[in-house]
Symmetry: C2
Subunit: 205 residues, 2 copies
């Protein structure tokens, strides 16, 4: 409608499909996920929840994978816009906790990541490859700053810590879903403890 987005895809020619309607579909699809978990993810189920035919969805997304990736990206950006920006371990911990609280989001993420490893995956591979690279770069910068300022031990590469944290967070959410007695926040706090600089003064708890 009139609520046009700022991120401008330039002229309308660049985005071959309707942007507003696209957004409606994604919003509704996320609601479906919240209600039915990661089950009704088939094109026909999502379309039924929207009151349209499954073929209509393919007018806005080239494939089911592309739709689901867009759904996850949309959900992630919504969360990011609704929470104060953090840095380092806190940002990942906060995201992990938010993830496991939304039914189906971890299943969706895990399924899409697994699919992105397949040879024929194109959209998913590109998206998650970029996402991981962006997360690594952001966290690496955070950690290098922490190391420079003496808030983190500097005897290990910041980039390795970034990779480890992302990997640990992803794996932790899965283990937590299968066995909730595995602490999510507490385990990530332990990871943070491993990063404390030697002999640093105890900060306010």
């Amino acid at each position: 409608m009139e609520d046009s987005v700022g991120p401008l895809l330039g002229r309308e020619g660049l985005q071959p499909k309707g942007v507003a309607r696209r957004r409606e579909i994604l919003d509704r699809a996320i609601e479906v996920f919240r209600e039915r978990g990661a089950d009704g993810t088939s094109l026909r189920r999502i379309a039924a929840a929207l009151g349209v035919s499954h073929a209509a969805l393919l007018h806005y997304f080239d494939s089911r994978e592309q739709l689901l990736v867009a759904v996850y990206a949309h959900a992630e950006s919504q969360r990011g816009a609704a929470t104060p920006p953090r840095a380092g371990v806190s940002s990942i911990t906060e995201a992990a906790v938010a993830n496991v609280e939304v039914p189906g989001i971890v299943q969706l993420y895990s399924t899409l990541v697994a699919a992105s490893l397949e040879a024929d995956s194109e959209v998913g591979r590109q998206y998650f490859s970029d996402r991981f690279a962006r997360l690594r770069a952001q966290l690496t910068a955070d950690f290098e700053r922490d190391q420079r300022d003496g808030r983190m031990r500097a005897d290990v590469p910041a980039e390795h810590i970034a990779v480890l944290l992302i990997a640990a967070s992803d794996g932790l959410q899965i283990q937590w879903l299968l066995e909730p007695s595995v602490g999510l926040e507490s385990t990530l706090r332990t990871f943070a403890a491993l990063l404390e600089p030697p002999r640093a003064g105890v900060t306010g708890s």
Copy 2:
């Protein structure tokens, strides 16, 4: 309900179906995976490679998921039997390196784990839930021993380290497949470095 009467696949003598033929199927299926990667995982493709119909496979496995879980379990047990037993971080590192060298095994693992999170998953959920629990217990015992013997810092819970290591290893393999410049062994070595006990007696202050 009560269908959890040991439907485990790693051990023998569980299903009322031919055990020997079952093993043949699994052996051949693993070969198919090594050749064609994680693609031909449909029942019909596997059956074609075996020279039988897809319905024949369902005579030995109740579902596709059960077959694939059995394939993964079989592959993992084969690897375990072909390598010297290790402990702690080394065991996980070795397993991770072996995994990424087999085309399709990480895809298979990731896909099955993601599927095990679904509500309707029964076999997969049981298998991976047990697998994670077993790995956690094993590693926790290793780390507690290391802590007792002064080979690992003792200011963090051994169980948290176990959870983190498993999670990090799983997530790392995925990141490595998407971006091989992410070091696998080197990153896990950094994790091990985080666990080293504080160096006593070196500092003069």
